[in-house]
Symmetry: C2
Subunit: 205 residues, 2 copies
DNA sequence: CTTTGCATACAAACGAGTATGTATACTTGG
DNA sequence: CCAAGTATACATACTCGTTTGTATGCAAAG
């Protein structure tokens, strides 16, 4: 095949990424071969190796593509919101769930990240990155809960660190279960209800 | 090497299973080769193929080894407990967390099941089984929450199905996070605290 | 005219499955 | 109770398909 224009090349790159998501979802990351991805994208392995160093590089590109919007979301809410810290946290959670409902791509990539690959840093550099990002957001959240505590928004018995881990656990668990089987419960309605239980459990009064 | 007695053969089988856990944890299921497992167990692939059909068979044996104690635990508490359904559920959760703390094997196998393998039923028959078991325990739990509701133990706003999914999510999230990094929080102390938040959020009064 | 964006061809490694070898534990008939 | 005979519990050896990485070719874009 003849050489493509820059625009066409970029389109090829995107179609490879799209194909990768599809095959990763179906087969799991480890069992998908670059040949499968290329075929699905309508190209050959040559094109894949031209755009990406190897499968890990491709995987990392996918992961980053999904994480950026989530990070932006959290930042924007954090900035735009004033006053009640607990409400801010609550809003971020709601918006994360809504993102899963609204964006097919986000759903699919996070499904791959959480259910179609093995959490082994040795091989998967994206896992190391995820660890770091998770730790960062946990620390941020803990600070938020600490100020919430200072502002008297939390029950006396509630420990900020435990509240942090509990919320992260709940969000992760909810997301994983729903992404694996969207029929399990109606999102975001039930998701928000579950969040309410949590916040009812930690909020004062 | 010469033929072993039955007892020795059984010991070999166990050592292969133990070796499999180790290597699965380190490399992830898909990247571990039967050669690695055999070498770690001090035998050759011949022994592995003698005791197990293939890697999936080995994996399934491991999974079943871990699930049985958990199922027994839930059943025994369900039978021995009388009265308050919510307390019964709470107790099961506490005991599950405690099992992770107490049993290294349980910790390791569940880490493999949840973080070192890909959730793809096509390849991994153990995933299908897990789906079924999860669905069963979810249904059972929903029934329990329904009776709790009838007994007036839950807030009016709480839906039994949502309470079910929320608890499963919380438990799964807590377990995954802690198994991946036991330094993240102190188990079972913090784990029980997090459970308290949840039950405070759904319990009447 | 050079570089780009691929397709094609090639080599090498690896892992799975299986076939075969074999010493010994068990078993069974005498 | 003992001697064959048989099945067992592996180790070793071999084959085969798959996948990866790279090298090379080539037409059009820049």
């Amino acid at each position: 095949m003849a050489r493509r224009t820059k625009a066409e090349a970029e389109a090829t790159r995107e179609s490879i990424l799209d194909a990768a998501i599809e095959v990763f979802l179906e087969k799991g990351v480890s069992r998908t071969t670059l040949e499968m991805i290329a075929r699905r994208a309508g190209v050959t392995r040559g094109a894949v190796y031209w755009h990406f160093k190897d499968k890990n590089d491709l995987f990392t590109a996918l992961a980053e593509r999904a994480r950026a919007p989530m990070a932006e979301l959290a930042d924007s809410i954090r900035e735009s919101s004033e006053g009640n810290v607990l409400e801010m946290i609550h809003e971020v959670c709601r918006r994360v769930l809504k993102t899963f409902v609204d964006s097919k791509t986000q759903r699919e990539i996070y499904t791959v990240l959480w259910s179609r690959c093995e959490y082994v840093s040795e091989i998967n550099p994206s896992v190391e990155r995820q660890k770091v990002l998770d730790a960062e957001s946990m620390d941020q959240l803990t600070k938020d809960f600490e100020t919430a505590k200072e502002q008297g928004l939390l029950r006396d018995s509630v420990d900020p660190r435990a509240a942090t881990v509990a919320l992260m656990s709940l969000m992760k668990g909810m997301s994983i279960l729903w992404l694996r089987d969207p029929e399990l419960y109606e999102m975001p309605r039930y998701g928000e209800e579950m969040l309410d239980y949590y916040f009812t459990g930690i909020r004062r009064h």
